[in-house]
Symmetry: C2
């Protein structure tokens, strides 16, 4: 059985990205920095749900956050995420 932690670690990051709402969040954060309530408004889900999605992305190291008073602003840490988008679009085309 392969037990290379390289693939385990990659899978953690990929899993964090592999959710429609989180892909949408990443797309938004690529253009701008947003606070949780702004994202919540765009998404239309429960605040706790949005907060949880953001925490998944943060733990994976995909987004970062800074606190301003009682608001928390999130931003994309690695713009290369767009390359992933491009690849997925490429695969979609071939289907």
């Amino acid at each position: 059985m392969i037990s290379d932690s390289k693939y385990e670690q990659m899978a953690i990051i990929m899993k964090a990205m592999a959710h429609p709402t989180r892909l949408y969040i990443m797309d938004q954060l690529n253009e701008n920095e947003y606070c949780v309530c702004e994202l919540q408004e765009k998404i239309g889900a429960d605040m706790s749900t949005v907060s949880k999605h953001l925490s998944v992305l943060k733990h994976a190291g995909i987004v970062g956050s800074r606190k301003v008073n009682n608001q928390v602003f999130y931003k994309l840490l690695c713009p290369c995420v767009l390359d992933v988008y491009k690849c997925v679009v490429e695969i979609k085309k071939t289907n």
Copy 2:
């Protein structure tokens, strides 16, 4: 609630990639075409498990297959998958 099927479709493809064994398979298939039993030997898991992983990748349009006698050979359809790898490695570095 956002209901853009664009993100749903992307998530399906990402989810298909987001598993250590499947990342390993993709990595192998990027170098070569392999049949199921060869991959099974490399991975060391149950044959049915490997077959299931391959079927997940195939349904997502990531790999293709051709049958030669009673063997099925799989190959990567879209080499851009490597870009995804690069991005994940990039994110790992910042962690």
